[in-house]
């Protein structure tokens, strides 16, 4: 939106968007499909980038765009209920208008470092949201990438999100394997049982690939250790960092780790870059 003259975009003013559908994935995660009132995607973005979602008068919160940039008609967010804004979003009715601004942050290097490589995606819980954008982008440009492995886990099978993709679409993809795990034994569960970091080690991946890891901080920490044990080097592994955000554009001073602002210089970091940062995340 403009400030009155056409070439001055004010980055803090959201554009109006419509929630076209809300799909309940789990007890506390739903996926929201959002488009412009006149139809179509609100703005272009790259896999891994985020957007600020506004629900006045409750406020704003930042979310990864979980749909792929190859999707031209809409954007999707998978949102976990955990506070004021997310609670409000979960109670919205379809066709309600909200505000959206973005895209913010950097992206996974899908057209640079990842091209031609075997890819290993590792996600825990809602951490699948940002990776899903990359995975679907890769699926839509399948010949540009090598073998794809997706390791995904949650506390229970009921906590797995994007079930259609993890159970049907992705396993059916060319040269693509999906490895699912849940924390504890469950009746009727045929996949693996155990925590994601252990499962990754059990799967004994060769190291001739790039790994992309997203999930709760504690899972990320142990997955990175596990990958290192398998022989992965730090510059072969990408992850995302999460800090409190308000402006999304590197000005409100809230999301820094050392001299980097996660909203602008992140959220995607290569692990050798993270190693340079002070330990405050």
């Amino acid at each position: 939106m403009s400030c009155g003259c056409n070439d001055h975009i004010d980055p803090l003013i959201p554009q109006i968007a419509v929630v076209k559908s809300i799909r309940s994935d789990t007890n506390d995660v739903s996926t929201f499909r959002v488009e412009k009132p006149e139809g179509g995607k609100c703005f272009d973005f790259k896999p891994g980038q985020c957007a600020m979602v506004s629900v006045p008068p409750i406020g704003e919160a930042i979310f990864s765009i979980t749909s792929s940039p190859t999707e031209t008609e809409f954007m999707e967010f998978s949102i976990k209920r955990c506070g004021k804004v997310t609670e409000f979003l979960h109670n919205l009715e379809v066709d309600t208008e909200i505000g959206v601004r973005g895209p913010y942050g950097n992206n996974f290097p899908v057209n640079e470092e990842l091209i031609g490589k075997d890819l290993l995606f590792i996600a825990g819980g809602i951490g699948l949201a940002p990776l899903r954008s990359v995975i679907n982008y890769v699926m839509d440009n399948r010949k540009d990438y090598g073998k794809v492995d997706i390791v995904y886990g949650a506390r229970t099978s009921g906590d797995l999100v994007h079930r259609n993709e993890i159970f049907a679409n992705w396993p059916a993809g060319m040269n693509t394997n999906v490895h699912l795990t849940v924390d504890r034994e469950e009746e009727g569960w045929e996949g693996n049982v155990g925590f994601v970091p252990n499962y990754v080690k059990d799967l004994k991946f060769d190291t001739n690939k790039v790994a992309l890891v997203c999930g709760p901080p504690i899972m990320i920490k142990y997955v990175l250790l596990g990958l290192e044990e398998l022989g992965f080097k730090k510059d072969q592994v990408y992850t995302t960092l999460e800090l409190k955000m308000k402006c999304g554009i590197g000005k409100c001073g809230r999301c820094n780790i050392g001299d980097k602002y996660v909203c602008k210089d992140g959220p995607v970091f290569r692990c050798d870059e993270i190693q340079q940062l002070p330990d405050e995340y």
Binding site: S54, G99, I249, N256, G258, D259
Partner: protein
């Protein structure tokens, strides 16, 4: 260069006020603060440190930036129309003038902050040099001389006795000066001599100030080493996290965004926030800065290491406001010293 005598200043204020909002340091309720000039206002140029800094004119403590209305499923958002009237801030000290430029680095870099830009472009900065720096001043530690003309100021003034010297610096400054030409006199050879002497005197005076040996350039700026330094445990102990130092600081730029709920219609505003507060970084899954030590470290690492890494300048101008305001007598000079930023 021009000049005007102190007695004629009210006339000058009145003249400027015809077309501008004029902000000057005004003595009111026992403190001197930049405020809107009105006839009869008690203007005070003797107190160097206004209670809060003039950054509030480019980055207000609280500003609404859009109104919204939700009716049924419909949402409308209307940006607040920006004020058009130009303003003049008269009496901005060199340290505060420098702070404007430091804020520019943050707000005017892409993507540009339009709220800030609009205010910045509407303003004319009439800076004023200092002859009697106070004991808490250490501008010199950041290479700011008390009578220097900082980049970005439109007019530079110097008050000697009952004379105020007036020098237009920028195009906007020349334009303003031309409008005031009836009130301004030419300077004499003697005046120039007087200015010269005053300048060299103040340059000597700053060398004698209590903080004059503070030198941030002496700090070894290895980010991780400083971050892990043991001094933070000890030096942060007394800090009660009140945030005063951040609110009076001319270079602090952290802000919060909130909605005001007027029952289906309301406004979104932003307001100053402080990295000294525990909720500043609180998230659903925890807080990366759990104790006051981490928050305290953030404030000073930002000013002395993080910001300089990004912009090649320190984010402190040595105005000394935080020195006077901290209830437990902690401040950036002590931190700089602890980090080794001291000339022997």
């Amino acid at each position: 260069m021009k000049k005007i005598t102190e007695e004629k200043l009210p006339e000058l204020y009145s003249h400027i006020s015809q077309n501008h909002d004029l902000f000057v340091p005004i003595d009111q309720d026992d403190s001197v603060n930049f405020s809107l000039w009105k006839d009869g206002a008690n203007v005070n140029f003797d107190v160097l440190k206004t209670n809060t800094s003039p950054k509030k004119y480019i980055f207000p403590q609280c500003e609404t930036f859009f109104n919204f209305k939700s009716e049924g499923k419909k949402l409308t958002i209307e940006r607040i129309k920006s004020e058009e009237k130009p303003y003049v801030v008269f009496g901005v000290r060199p340290c505060d003038a420098k702070s404007f430029r430091l804020l520019d680095n943050v707000f005017l870099s892409e993507p540009m902050d339009r709220l800030y830009e609009e205010k910045r472009n509407r303003g004319i900065i009439v800076s004023m040099g200092c002859n009697e720096p106070e004991d808490t001043c250490f501008c010199n530690s950041f290479s700011i001389l008390p009578n220097s003309i900082q980049e970005g100021v439109d007019v530079f003034t110097l008050k000697l006795g009952n004379k105020i010297f007036w020098e237009a610096i920028s195009e906007n400054g020349v334009e303003l000066t031309n409008k005031l030409s009836d009130l301004l006199d030419d300077v004499t050879e003697g005046d120039l001599k007087e200015i010269e002497i005053a300048k060299s005197q103040v340059n000597e005076k700053v060398k004698e100030l209590p903080f004059s040996n503070i030198d941030p350039n002496e700090i070894n700026r290895d980010l991780n080493e400083l971050f892990q330094s043991k001094i933070w445990d000890e030096i942060s102990k007394s800090c009660i996290g009140c945030g005063s130092c951040t609110f009076v600081c001319p270079t602090c730029h952290c802000y919060d965004i909130q909605d005001y709920d007027g029952n289906k219609s309301g406004e979104r505003y932003r307001c100053w926030d402080s990295c000294m507060y525990s909720e500043f970084t609180l998230m659903a899954h925890g807080n990366p800065r759990t104790t006051q030590k981490e928050r305290f470290r953030q404030r000073f690492m930002h000013k002395l290491v993080y910001y300089p890494n990004n912009f090649d300048e320190y984010a402190c101008v040595g105005c000394g406001r935080c020195v006077g305001k901290c209830p437990v007598n902690m401040n950036i000079t002590k931190v700089i010293r602890k980090l080794g930023g001291e000339n022997q």
